[in-house]
């Protein structure tokens, strides 16, 4: 090849690479976050139109009673209804299929009155038999419903009867603070469609993804009309939906909702940018905000700030004594001082800046300011202080005994342990790296090992880990509905799961407080007891929380009348009132 063409070609390629780099850089640089107010059109909603939403995965069942997947949950929100509903925006319990209810003075008996004249999406009449059937199905052992345990109080099921054609009576085996909130987790299913499967013992397989849409029925605002595996679910208005807007307009406003299956978040973002979809169901990553900024400026996309996340990522050390029994680090690795020192060593403001580009708030416990009902500001805090961290570490015998940068204990064992995190989750990988960097400043060596999600969960459930940094989603904002996390016997008591008896006095104390809090019917007393739980948790720091991200979502400007929530599904939980402009 001649020398001149080679030089020219090289120059052209360099120019292309530099140009592309400049465009990408100017797109990503200087992200700006919108103010806290919700940005959305105030146009009057009207009936009609289609809303296109992406989702990462497909439902493995259309039956919420047998599947906990996020895709099944969204599908259920759109197609099914509960007796009562927790309003995701106000966190208040509100009438739904039941138009009112009364509670007995002892809090054990609830009498619910169903709305009159309701019909399933296929036109069949909705009756108390459907409610009784649903309870029978969820407690059926052959169905092995994964939500059955959440509908038991102290291991006992609720007793449900129908004294007349419109009345349902629910009897709790023991007083339960959240009361009927428990029923928000239970969509009512059509007896006429599913009873045969329950009788035949095949309920667990009923309403699988291959079920023809005509075989489904629901009380939600939409009904499935087409499922194209790997591509999309198409839902249309339920002609028998019962709800009306304040001005009397029959809901839902939308004619159609399309759930497009897009497994990759970058591709989801591009589809929103190109106007092919109206929203996606994940909160935006910090860097996505910058990418959407030009479209916001052009009025094509609206940014919604939902508030502070209620599901912050968590770091915890394995606190099972058994795991460390033969380990030379056992003298200090499970000590409270180590965890407190780590908390002091992390500069939370810098952490938020580095990982979330500033769109996060510092936190000191699992209950974030996003959980307005239960957040207690009076928990012990560990301000950024390397001196205090070093002093705490010295208290447990960790000092620098040689020339390297790491601390050692009295036997000369280096203060080093392994932190597992999810491979491919960039936020978690960044958080773990940031923690390791901050820990290095006080002489603690944290080796970050990203693992594929299933492998990490397997290690966690077997208790075979030193420390983990991962994302944990609480079941509910009410602590009485997240007892698996708080109780020492709980399956989600992540630092030391499913203990036969509480391993420590403070865990015993938390067990007692949570049990009393769960059984109390007095809201003030419940808040007081839970504030005490948070205080003990803050003192013992069995799990460390550093920041909670602010959640943002992007929606097309044509999407109006949204009621955002920090809880999943953040926008589609109130799909019946969403509208689009023509």
């Amino acid at each position: 090849m001649n020398r001149q063409p080679r030089i020219l070609l090289t120059l052209v390629l360099v120019a292309v690479i530099v140009g592309t780099g400049y465009v990408i850089w100017t797109d990503l640089a200087k992200p700006e976050f919108p103010s806290a107010e919700t940005v959305s059109s105030t146009a009057k909603p009207t009936r009609g139109g289609r809303l296109t939403v992406t989702q990462r995965s497909e439902p493995r069942s259309f039956n919420r009673l047998v599947s906990l997947s996020a895709a099944t949950d969204v599908f259920t929100q759109l197609t099914q209804a509960r007796l009562v509903r927790v309003n995701r925006a106000t966190h208040e319990l509100e009438p739904w299929l039941a138009e009112r209810w009364e509670a007995s003075a002892d809090g054990l008996r609830f009498t619910l009155t169903l709305r009159d004249g309701l019909r399933w999406s296929d036109g069949a009449a909705f009756t108390t038999d459907d409610v009784l059937f649903t309870f029978r199905a969820v407690y059926d052992e052959r169905a092995a419903s994964p939500i059955a345990s959440s509908l038991r109080i102290g291991g006992q099921p609720l007793t449900v009867t129908a004294p007349d054609a419109r009345t349902i009576q629910v009897i709790y085996p023991a007083p339960f603070g959240p009361g009927l909130r428990l029923l928000d987790n239970l969509p009512i299913l059509p007896r006429h469609k599913l009873e045969a499967a329950l009788e035949a013992g095949t309920f667990a397989r009923a309403w699988g993804p291959a079920t023809p849409p005509a075989d489904l029925a629901g009380m939600g605002p939409f009904q499935l009309v087409r499922y194209e595996p790997g591509q999309r679910l198409v839902l249309t208005r339920n002609p028998h939906y019962w709800r009306r807007a304040a001005d009397g307009t029959a809901l839902p406003y939308l004619d159609e909702v399309v759930l497009e299956v897009v497994p990759d978040q970058n591709a989801e973002l591009l589809r929103l940018q190109s106007g092919e979809v109206d929203m996606f169901q994940q909160a935006l990553r910090a860097e996505d905000l910058a990418a959407l900024r030009p479209l916001v400026d052009q009025g094509k996309v609206s940014l919604l700030e939902l508030g502070v996340s209620t599901d912050p990522d968590v770091f915890f050390i394995n606190l099972r004594d058994r795991y460390w029994a033969r380990d030379p680090r056992r003298g200090w690795i499970v000590r409270r001082e180590l965890r407190q020192a780590l908390s002091h060593a992390v500069d939370r403001e810098a952490f938020a800046e580095a990982v979330f580009l500033g769109a996060a708030v510092p936190i000191w416990g699992p209950v974030t300011p996003g959980n307005t009902e239960w957040f207690s500001p009076n928990v012990p805090r560990y301000p950024y202080s390397l001196e205090q961290a070093r002093a705490l570490l010295a208290d447990i015998g960790l000092t620098n005994r040689d020339d390297d940068e790491w601390l050692e204990d009295e036997q000369g064992t280096e203060a080093r342990f392994t932190v597992l995190t999810y491979r491919g989750n960039l936020v978690l990988e960044r958080e773990a790296a940031r923690l390791a960097e901050d820990a290095r400043h006080v002489g603690l060596a944290l080796d970050i090992v990203p693992l594929e999600q299933n492998a990490l969960v397997d290690r966690m459930l077997r208790g075979d880990f030193e420390a983990i940094f991962f994302g944990y989603n609480a079941t509910d904002l009410d602590p009485a509905l997240s007892k698996d996390f708080w109780l020492s016997s709980g399956a989600a008591h992540i630092w030391n799961m499913a203990q036969a008896t509480p391993a420590t006095p403070w865990e015993r104390e938390i067990d007692d407080l949570i049990t009393r809090q769960s059984a109390s019917l007095d809201p003030t007393e419940r808040r007081r007891l839970f504030a005490e739980v948070q205080r003990i948790f803050g003192e013992q720091v069995p799990a460390l929380y550093f920041v909670a991200p602010r959640l943002y979502m992007g929606v097309s400007a044509r999407t109006i009348n949204l009621t955002p929530s920090v809880l999943r599904p953040q926008l589609l939980w109130a799909a019946d009132t969403i509208a689009v402009t023509p």
């Binding site: 087409r226 790997g230 492998a455 397997d458």
Partner: protein, 319 residues
């Protein structure tokens, strides 16, 4: 020739069995199982019940024997992720991947081979180094980056749909469906085809340059055949042998290895199915998808080997 074909078919079946069995066993031994997909913190009793439902409580030997017996009846078991028969899922997704793969292969051929013929001839000027430069860039471009760039281009310009296989409106007729699919094909097909076209260009260019120097091409020229005809009619057919070998591998790669492109462009093909199955530890689906991928690879190499043997008597004689 018949013996050669029978032997190759038996080898292909052996390859499918080994690939599927290896996938089955490795997935079974991988940490975690299908019950972790939906809920990490199921109560132990509920998790055991779910494991029993999925047959995960059985020993590996019993599971494998049951699966193998099913395979012999072409029953691939049921997917724990989709709660549907694996055979049904594979049929749907293989058709979708075939549409994408065949289009990509045609595009790669149409772009790569003529470009290789063009650059394989001795010429002066800027065009040849430019084509070579583009080829080298495309060959070294990872599929993820390539597909994201194309999706970005589609999103920015609005000329093409950025993903999916059809639009949500549905199609009233076959013709409308084909038109819809054709509109969605360019982005994923180009993402797959461009690196392959570049590979073909490089290979064709080199093979043609080598063939052009062979004595039989010189002899043709000496007989008065024009340089262009000597190249196209004599050198080019001789340069096709290495390309033919590459096609077998390319078809196999397209069918079994297009998962990155399928994930980014949301194409509902077998690659994406495999990724989902692996993430979900869906034992039967992983094994089924591996078998389907191996089957495609084996079939493609079988066809190219048979074509080779048909074109080259030496191979037939050796067989």
């Amino acid at each position: 020739m018949a013996i050669y074909c029978v032997r190759r078919i038996l080898l292909a079946l052996l390859l499918v069995w080994i690939a599927a069995s290896t996938a089955f066993v490795l997935t079974r031994f991988a940490p975690g199982d299908a019950t972790f997909v939906e809920e990490q913190f199921l109560a132990p009793a509920a998790r055991e019940a779910r494991r029993a439902q999925l047959g995960l409580d059985r020993p590996l030997a019993a599971q494998y024997a049951g699966w193998l017996a099913g395979m012999l009846r072409l029953d691939f078991g049921e997917s724990s992720l989709y709660a549907r028969p694996v055979g049904q899922l594979l049929r749907e997704r293989t058709v979708n991947t075939a549409i994408l793969a065949i289009t990509a292969l045609l595009l790669a051929t149409v772009l790569g081979v003529p470009a290789g013929i063009y650059t394989g001839r001795p010429r002066s000027g800027l065009t040849v180094p430019l084509v070579r430069g583009v080829s080298v860039t495309l060959v070294s471009l990872p599929p993820l980056v390539g597909s994201l760039l194309l999706v970005l281009l589609a999103a920015r310009t609005g000329w093409l749909p950025t993903g999916g296989m059809t639009s949500a409106d549905g199609s009233a007729s076959w013709a409308a469906w084909l038109g819809d699919v054709a509109a969605h094909l360019p982005v994923p097909a180009l993402a797959l085809a461009l690196p392959l076209a570049a590979t073909l260009e490089r290979l064709q260019s080199r093979a043609l340059a080598e063939a052009a120097g062979e004595p039989f091409v010189d002899a043709a020229r000496a007989r008065g055949v024009s340089s262009r005809d000597a190249l196209v009619r004599h050198a080019w057919p001789a340069s096709l042998a290495p390309l033919l070998g590459l096609y077998g591998l390319m078809v196999g790669t397209l069918f079994s290895g297009s998962f990155v492109v399928e994930v980014v462009t949301a194409w509902p093909g077998i690659g994406r199915l495999m990724v989902d199955a692996l993430r979900a530890r869906d034992l039967f689906l992983v094994a089924g998808a591996a078998a389907a991928g191996a089957m495609c690879l084996a079939t493609a190499t079988l066809i190219t080997d048979v074509l080779h043997a048909w074109l080259d008597p030496r191979i037939r004689e050796r067989a």
